[in-house]
Structure formats: C-alpha cells, structure tokens
C-alpha cells in the first residue's frame, strides 16, 4: 500500500504556532539524534527529543503535547548547543509547554502548593522561581 504524505496534509495552526513561538524550523532537522544523545534527562522522557521533532514533522502534535517529555526538559540547552542544523529543541520544548499552559490543555505540571516547605526553606530561590515559571507559567 502506498502512503502519500504532503506538507499540506500535516501542517496545521498548532504546528505553525510551535514554529513561531520557538523560532525554530521543524523541517531543518534531519534526525541525526545528537539532541537525544546529549540530553542529560533523556532516560526520564517517554519520547526522546529527536522523536518529538519527527512526530511534529509528521503533524502528530497531539501526542507530543500529551508527553511527559515536555515537562522533563531542564532547559540546559545541550541539545541546542550540539545540533549541527542549529535547531534548538529546548526552545521547541518551551513553546510546547507554553501552548499547554496558555490554552489550559491540561493542569500545570507543578502547582505552587506542591512545593514542599523543606524545598522553600532549603533550596535556592532561583530553583523555586525557575521551576514555577517553567512548569506553571
């Protein structure tokens, strides 16, 4: 069976939004996998970074928005630093999180009430502020 796939079949408004918000061109990725190889938290992801981009290239944005991956990224920028095509996966992740948080597709990953008193009194403020901005919006 032949499967014909064209750009206009996979593109939609949400994908355009991902590209605009992240400032990245999804089709620039040629799937070398360096982002996934260099990611320090890849073991905890359900879809690895290069696969996320492939799914987006194929228009499977719903699967990506529901993934654990977008909440696991620590924004360390190693993927962006090592991409031979200049695709910044970290920024794509931030864009995907922003879409979920701004449109309230699901509950925020981290609620302020969930930050433990120990964390508030012991962890550096920058960590608590950073986590809430990244995972709550």
């Amino acid at each position: 069976m032949r499967l014909r796939l064209t750009i206009d079949m996979v593109r939609d408004e949400v994908l355009d939004r991902v590209e605009t918000l992240s400032g990245q061109q999804l089709l620039a990725c040629y799937q070398c996998g360096r982002c996934s190889a260099g990611c320090p938290v890849v073991d905890e992801m359900d879809i690895i970074p290069s696969e996320v981009i492939r799914l987006l290239q194929l228009g499977q944005v719903g699967e990506v928005l529901n993934s654990k991956t977008i909440w696991t990224c620590a924004s360390c920028l190693q993927c962006a630093s090592r991409c031979p095509k200049g695709v910044e996966f970290s920024n794509i992740c931030d864009a995907l999180r922003a879409i979920v948080l701004r449109t309230r597709l699901s509950e925020p990953r981290l609620d302020a009430d969930e930050v433990t008193p120990v964390m508030v009194s012991d962890a550096p403020q920058m960590g608590v502020v950073g986590a809430l901005r990244k995972l709550n919006g």
Binding site: W71, A74, S75, C76, Q78, A98, D122
Partner: protein
C-alpha cells in the same frame, strides 16, 4: 575601583556564603563591588519563546538600574548572569522588543515620580554584563591575581564544574567554548590548585527540576559527582547556588544508590579564592555545606 554589582535574590538569602566571600575577595584585590541601589529578582530563567516581552523585563529593569551608576555590571549566580546577558542582547539587537520594554521603563518612571524623584532613561543594551570570574581575568588580571595569593592551594585537587548557564547558548553568552571551556581552569591554576579535568564539567545538574522531580536531579548530579570522583577530585567548585545545592545536598542519596561512594565537598569558587588570599574565617562560612569541606582542607593544611 568600584564596579556595579548585581547579587540577585539567592545571594541575598540562601547563598550568603557566596555573596560574602565574593565581596571580601574583591575587596582584597582592590575592587569594590557596589551593590545596585535598587534591584529585583531577574526572573531566574530566560524565556525560550519568542513572543515574551514580560519575561525579559525584570532583567532589563536591573540593567537599567545598573546603567545609572556605571558601564558594567558584575554578577555571580549563573542563572542571573544568563538572564542579564541574554536580556541585554535582546535590547541590543531586537528593536521591537527594545521599544516595548522601554515603554515599561517609562511607565515605571511615571509611577515612581509620585513618591520620589526617580527617572529611568531608555535602555539600549549599553551596559556590559560581566561574570565575576571574567572580572578576575579581564579587570584584575590572572597575573595580578597570582601575585596576590598568600597561600597557594598546592596539592588540592579541584574539579571545576561549569554547568549550563554560563556557557549556553554560545552565540549569546560568548563566555567560553561550550564543550571545552578553560576560564575556570586558568583561574584555579592562578591560585595554585591542582586542576582536575573531568568529562561531565559542562553537563546539567538537574537545575530547577529538583523542585518538581528530586530523583531526576539526584541522577543528573550523581553523573557529575561520580565523574569528578573518578578523576580523584578532593573538592568540586561551582559558580551557581543551584548547582551547589544539587551536587552537595544529594550525596546522601548517591551513597544509598552506589556502594563504596565517597562524598566530595562542593564549594563556591570564591571560597577557594578566599582561602588563597588568606581571608579570615568570618568570610569563609561552610556551615551550609552538607558535605563538610573542613576535613579535606585540614588534611591539606589549608586551614
């Protein structure tokens, strides 16, 4: 010589040991870090989405405060450095965001004028954002620094941990090579340490994810700590309060996970500098460290 200094919220609270040692060292080297008369939290994380003006405003406001008292601003925390430097870059290259951010600065002035005489000039990225270690290299000079050392830290094997935020993204931070940086090593050599190179020096410690998923941060930090231990490090130095926290606080858990795990102290680079400059104990506070550095420092006759 006075240089404007932006401490950031963490250095005024959880990382006073970092702030205090840094100011005392600068003073010993003839530099007075002049804390900005007004400052706020920088927001901790730089927005990676393109449409955000609000999220760069905190950085821009602080840069604008700095521009009132000098042409440079020095900071220590890696997150602050990343946010200030990237926000500054936006103000230099993105004219649309520059204009929008300046509308907020003008509104700040209008609001403040009601209670005090206070104006903010438009800001265009004119301040130079320096990390403290860049200040040591470019303003003080590593040669002068080496001359000021009263106690060489000979025999102390030190692993310099860079983490993420000083180095990436390279094109905006322009701090050092993102894969093989050397600024930290050169600093440590200047104060007489034995530098330990280790492959995980630019890997992530887990960062802010510790608040959401502590196990994740333990795993990331463990990779870094074990890598330094394999190269025989006596101590790991860092320039980031969150890295210090992650690498230091989680070693009990690492010991539970790995049999035969040896704990290794994690200190701020300014604390080692303080030792080398012969600063008094009042400026070298290690009481917040979970893994106490005193035994190894005593063993090497450094305290």
């Amino acid at each position: 010589m006075k240089i404007p200094y932006y401490p950031g919220c963490t250095l005024h609270e959880r990382a006073r040991d970092f702030d205090d040692s840094a100011k005392a060292c600068a003073s010993a080297l003839g530099v007075e870090l002049e804390e900005l008369p007004i400052w706020t939290c920088c927001g901790a994380v730089y927005p990676l989405v393109t449409d955000s003006v609000m999220d760069v405003l905190a950085g821009v406001r602080n840069l604008s405060y700095a521009s009132r008292i000098g042409d440079k601003v020095v900071t220590l925390c890696s997150f602050c450095y990343n946010v200030l430097k990237r926000s500054n870059n936006v103000m230099r290259v993105d004219l649309d965001k520059r204009e929008k951010a300046n509308l907020f600065l003008r509104a700040d002035t209008a609001a403040r004028e009601k209670v005090e005489s206070y104006t903010l000039e438009d800001y265009e990225g004119q301040v130079e954002v320096l990390h403290y270690i860049e200040m040591l290299r470019d303003v003080v000079g590593y040669d002068k620094l080496a001359e000021a050392v009263s106690k060489k830290l000979d025999g102390l094997k030190v692993a310099p941990y860079y983490g993420c935020m000083l180095l990436r993204p390279k094109k905006e931070m322009n701090f050092d090579d993102p894969e093989q940086p050397t600024i930290f090593e050169e600093f440590l050599e200047a104060i007489g340490c034995d530098v330990v190179d280790f492959p995980m020096k630019t890997e992530c410690c887990g960062g802010f994810q510790v608040v959401n998923d502590e196990e994740l941060a333990v795993s990331c930090s463990q990779n870094v700590v074990v890598s330094a231990l394999k190269r025989d490090a006596d101590v790991i130095v860092t320039t980031c309060p969150l890295c210090r926290y992650n690498l230091d606080r989680h070693q009990e858990k690492m010991a539970e996970r790995i049999s035969g795990f040896t704990k290794v102290p994690v200190v701020y680079f300014t604390q080692l500098l303080g030792l080398a400059l012969g600063l008094g104990k009042e400026h070298l506070d290690f009481t917040d460290n979970t893994v106490d550095p005193m035994p190894v420092l005593a063993e090497k006759s450094l305290i």
